[in-house]
Amino acid sequence: MDELTREFLIESQEGLDRMERCLTDLEERPQDTELLGEIFRSVHTIKGTTGFLGFKRLEKLAHAGENLLGLLRDGKLSANQPIITGLLQLMDALRGILKIIESHNLEGEGTEAETQQDAQLIIRLNELQQLKSSAVTVEAKVAVAAAGVGSPAPLAAPSSNTSSPAIPDLDTAPTPPAKTALVAPEPPKAPTEDAGKPKAAAASDSTLRVDVILLNRMMNLVGELVLTRNQILQATATDPNFTMLSRRLDMVTADLRESVMKARMQPVSNVFSKFPRIIRDLSQMLHRKVRLVMEGQETELDKSLLEAIKDPLTHAVRNSLDHGIEMPEVRIAAGKDPEGTLKLRAYQESSHVIIEVSDDGAGIGVERVRNKAIEKGLISAERAAQLNERELLQLIFLPGFSTAEAVTNVSGRGVGMDVVRTNVEKIGGKVEIESRPGKGTTLRLRIPLTLAIIPALIVRSLDQSFALPQGALSELVHIPPERVSSAIEWMEGTPLYRLRGQLLPLIFLDRMLSPSLKSSRLHLANGSRLEQESLPERDHFIAVLDADGRRFGLVVDGLADPEEIVVKPLSTVLKSIGLYSGATVLGSGDLALILDPGSIASHAGVAMGKSEEVAEVAEEVDVMASRFLLVEASERRAAVPLGDVLRIERIPLSRVEYVGYRPVLNFQGQLLPIEDSAGVFAAAAGNPDAQITVVVCREGKRHVGIAVSHVLDVSAGSDLFEAGSQHAAAGVTLLNDHVTGIVDLAAIQSLPGAEQHSDWNSIQETVA
């Protein structure tokens, strides 16, 4: 394909995207001449260029549309529903042809059916022009329409280099052509061209089209640089001569990485913009009234991720419309606004972008979900009876699940939510669902900011390092040597661990990865006794993982630092083992395989048992608000709301730095203000090797640290009521029968200009 055609394709597609947006807006503001002008320009540009390139099918269609749009723009017609539908159809047809051109480099001869379709569409567009409007005489209109069909063919014929003329001369025009009116749509062309040009020129001066392949390559190279930098930092850590140099390299690399990543970012509006149209079509088809609200369209996401969420998001929206929002009559009966609201919302939360699809529809009936799941044999009746509401909701993510009474065009084929979840998890994201019967449903997609670089915990097993994606990791449990035999329990050869009273299936990474260990176990183990004894008395670490709704503990020999790792693909041979999702180069220069928690679970046969554990989590969420982390700072006790605690860090006092008088900590590349009202630093100041504990908390959008001497406990607090009143006293709670003050996170002053710290900074590489 030559440069010119490629450019034309890109431009036309952009034009059509713009047109789509404008058309749906037009429905609400039919008199908006600016919108009309914009649409007209898009179609006009396509028409102009196609004539030049010899794509006749395209030109004919575009011309017919242009005529109609010309009348609209000049105010001779006003946009109504049939016209907009017609224009949308035109747009689809144009898109279809562009697609053909893209794949075959010519628009194709047009099969009989296609020709027919084109002709019908042109007739339809022409008919639309005749919808009575006083300013245009019938004769002129017809002439214009006819010219649209008749004139381009002879013009374009000589320049056409398709194997045969695209379309034989059509006699689809409603009346014989009358050349007199040929000029009718022309005059407006000039002014729009002029108006459009300066804008376009300005944009092209400051922007540049870059091939995505080049960007990908740049991203790879930057990843390489990050790895090299990590190694250099480790190698030169002890050499004072290199400190300045390596620090500079560190900074430049971080900046470069950020810039390249930014170059790949696109606003989610690129994906959102197609929803007005989808919703318009679907709501007409399903006879529902739906208002679309979009928020946070400017939120940016990596281009490849944006591509990846397109389908899941469409699925989710279709589901909301089909199953969520009720028919207008039903809504009125339920005392709701007959017009349903579908809300698309995107926002950033630390290193994730959250995309919410929420509706104010009927919500999901958990009983119906339960019955359907049993009916489809996805779950046994006994099991289903044990599940609580939250667990039942999770069932809709099972493959093959559908509550639709009938298979419709829109959904109900049972390939909905599991596809959503699989696709989102494929890119390292998560799907959450919330539903309240009668009130609506919210589906939340949690998408990582970037694919190429992910935070991971490095674990040791078999004297090798493995990377475990942080996304799947929910907590870590350490079992000291003396407790190994008592903490790990066996149920006929299956190791289990009691995590807060719930049994967690365990997978020993070394046994799974090393067939010799496994087989020796098989030989040895006729009962569970032997196995239990075979566990060496050394430290064991359990990484509690949550993969595809399956929860299990992965037992490893050791933990190393968390690292930001650059994912490198594996060869097909190794990918087919199924346990690894890639490999990476660690800061030490060693290679590490990246474990795939989902595959490990399936490999070990961990069932989709969103069982007891999930129930527990659910409870935890409910009580989270009233649970507190009890800390001691300089012999005073204080409570921090557990829900706000992100992590607890133990750091040497020497790492604390000062901005003015405020103590701060360079924490994962971010500046963390530290609250030290209890004077923990002062108490430790005499000792150069002193370690202090910092509780990192979330407060609104920022993170703050609280310096404490010890972390004591986690316990549930209860409200204290002031004697004689029903008002819960603020700022205090009853913990372990002691009245304890709650640390007021909001009162911690932010650093000057701290609010400018974007969450971008949180994905800084940790230097091991």
């Binding site: 090798q464 490198k568 594996l570 060869s571 041979v573 346990l579 490999a583 395989l593």
Partner: protein, 171 residues
């Protein structure tokens, strides 16, 4: 890159009246001298320890980091059924360290673990002989005949046949 596939080119060359000169990189594994066409060699990485991959097919020697990519390596010793990690000759090296040839084939790049890499030999296509019929099946599937040199035989290896993908599907 003119030599697309060694086997075909070698076979063709036999029919030519004039013998062509070919450049082969010699490598040693155990007692045998093997040859690989230099046109397929991207780089020779000396004395490296590949990262083991648990549960990988046996012929996989591990992973190496090569110019930003992670390459799968193939262990020639393993393929030929020789004991692994036998110390070869005078070269003193740590346990598990190998010389690695980075090879390019139609399916992509991969590494080949060998005991040691020797010099580049210029051989004449006239000296080429196909695999003898009594060679066992495993070896004849890997070898592309041999060149008769004064010092002995240079057993030819064909990168295409060593491609891990192909080995995996054969296994």
């Amino acid at each position: 890159m003119s030599v697309k596939s060694t086997t075909s080119s070698l076979a063709l060359k036999k029919d030519f009246p004039a013998a062509a000169l070919l450049e082969m990189c010699s490598v040693r594994v155990g007692q045998t001298l093997f040859g690989l066409p230099i046109t397929h060699i991207l780089e020779i990485v000396g004395n490296t320890r590949p990262q083991a991959v648990p549960l990988a097919p046996e012929f996989v020697g591990g992973l190496i980091h090569y110019r930003g990519d992670v390459l799968t390596t193939v262990s020639l010793r393993q393929l030929l059924g020789m004991p692994l990690d036998a110390e070869s000759g005078s070269k003193k090296r740590k346990q598990g360290h190998h010389d690695i040839l980075v090879l390019e084939c139609s399916g992509g790049c991969f590494g080949l673990l060998v005991d040691s890499v020797g010099e580049v030999l210029t051989v004449s296509s006239a000296d080429h002989e196909p695999n003898p019929s009594i060679l066992d099946a495993r070896r004849s599937a890997l070898f592309a005949g041999a060149f008769k040199l004064k010092e002995g035989l240079l057993v030819m290896l064909d990168p295409e046949r060593l491609d891990p993908m192909r080995l995996a599907s054969a296994a």
